[in-house]
Amino acid sequence: MNPVRLTGRLALAATGGTGRIAIFAGRGLAGILPLQAGLLFRQIIQIGWLSLPVVGLTALFTGAALALQIHSGGERFQASDVVPAIVAIGMVRELGPVLGGLMVAARVASAIAAELGTMRVTEQIDALVTLSTDPLKWLVAPRLWAAVLTVPILVGVGDLVGIMGGWLVGVNALGFNSATYIANSWAYLESWDVISGLIKGAAFGFLVALSGCWFGMNAGLGAAGVGRATTNAVVVASVAILAANFILTGLFFR
């Protein structure tokens, strides 16, 4: 096939696909009304609450490692006392949302894709339709909203735990005074640093749930189809998070 035609085909496929995903996402978000609180609550537990341990541990170790890095790096230009401020800003603006988002992608995008994919291949989604129930309302909407609502909270918790990880290392290994460390963490932090990170969290949560739902609902046949859906959901969610992070950072801090 000639390259021009191939490019055209690819572009058409990409825009067509994007259009379909956008419609899917829009209908999924709109499908939350009328609110079925039970369904939403269940997903908030599944997506938010059960992700707390993994997000917390990730943040703890990241904050701790960051403190070590900044300290040894900062020593080169006699600036090792910036550790608390840099750890706080780095966690809150960047590492909290991105690593939290990636961990949620690993845990949640895969789980959603596997569950919905299995429902697809065992005709449970078709059965929903024959019971006058819109799968977008029943399955997709609660997952999208639960992720959008809970991932910012996870990010907030991750921010705190990460700063605490830095503090633990700072106080116990780097010789910081505990009160000074805490004071310096807050001193240079602006509210927009935190809020921008939480907005990123909401966006990443949306991407994770959307990826899981999209690949799950469109899973191919059999166990292999579900496997492929799961892999694709995690890969696409992770790449989308990193790309969206770049774009949002550019929008927020340029």
Binding site: Q124, T130, L131
Partner: protein, 250 residues
């Protein structure tokens, strides 16, 4: 009067394999149609296509002379029930919530549960299965729970995809009687797929034989036995015949 469901010139291929080859079929209001045909001949695909779960390559499905889409399809679904070939119970819900799925939006949970347990009883499942999950049931039990779900909200149109497959002969006979009694209630229309000739004779008003992606023979169940069609005769008698014809429809 126009038929409840009309399929017109339905074509459907998967890759190079043509499953429906310009198929025409009608279901009259209040009628019980049984579709028979070789394994893999496209019976389940036909039901899915009627419901819009499978998009046709060409041809159309009409519901009372209107295309089965949008509001027409939504209205149709509101008084519809389906038993899927593999039951398709919701894994994440206990059996009673599966059976009561449609009822739960319409009445208090306690009442829906009581009704679900009553429907389970009609398909020979005791109240002890109500709180089990689908994965904890045998294949035949799942099938019967799926049947209970299909009939729970007293639908006006029901599709049964192999209701007795995987059941012991006594259970199968009970289910046939149950389906017959549901169909005798006024105004219920049904399409049943089965390989079980006892089912055919118990349930059917009219029989259609699917072959090569088309309806090869159809007529009242009473005329089935003196039909001239030799494939149908072999089918009824359960006689072996060369199967090559069944691998390349159309």
């Amino acid at each position: 009067m126009s038929a409840l469901i009309s399929v017109r010139g339905a074509r459907k291929s998967f890759g190079s394999k043509q499953v429906l080859a310009g198929l025409d079929l009608d279901l009259a209001e209040g009628e019980s149609l049984v579709v028979i045909g070789g394994s893999g001949s496209g019976k389940s695909v036909l039901l899915r296509a009627i419901l819009g779960l499978e998009t046709l390559d060409s041809g159309q499905v009409l519901c009372r002379a209107k295309p089965m889409q949008g509001r027409v399809r939504d209205d149709f679904m509101d008084s519809f029930g389906m038993l899927f070939q593999n039951a398709a119970l919701f894994d994440s819900l206990p059996i009673w919530r599966n059976v009561a799925f449609r009822l739960l939006g319409r009445m208090p949970a306690a009442k829906a549960r009581a009704l679900a347990i009553e429907k389970l009883d009609r398909v020979g499942l005791g109240p002890e299965v109500a709180d089990l999950f689908p994965a904890e049931l045998s294949g035949g039990m799942r099938k019967r729970a799926g049947l209970a779900r299909a009939i729970a909200a007293s639908p006006k149109v029901i599709f049964f995809d192999e209701p007795t497959t995987g059941l012991d002969p006594i259970r199968a006979a009970t289910i046939n009687e149950l389906i017959r009694s549901i169909l005798d209630e006024s105004g219920v229309s049904a399409i049943t797929i089965t390989h079980d000739m006892t089912s055919v004779r118990t349930i059917a008003d009219r029989v259609a034989l699917l072959d090569h992606g088309q309806i090869r023979w159809q007529g009242p169940v009473a005329r089935m036995d003196d039909a001239k069609d030799d494939y149908l005769r072999d089918f009824i008698a359960g006689r072996a015949r060369p199967m090559a014809r069944n691998t390349e429809p159309g």
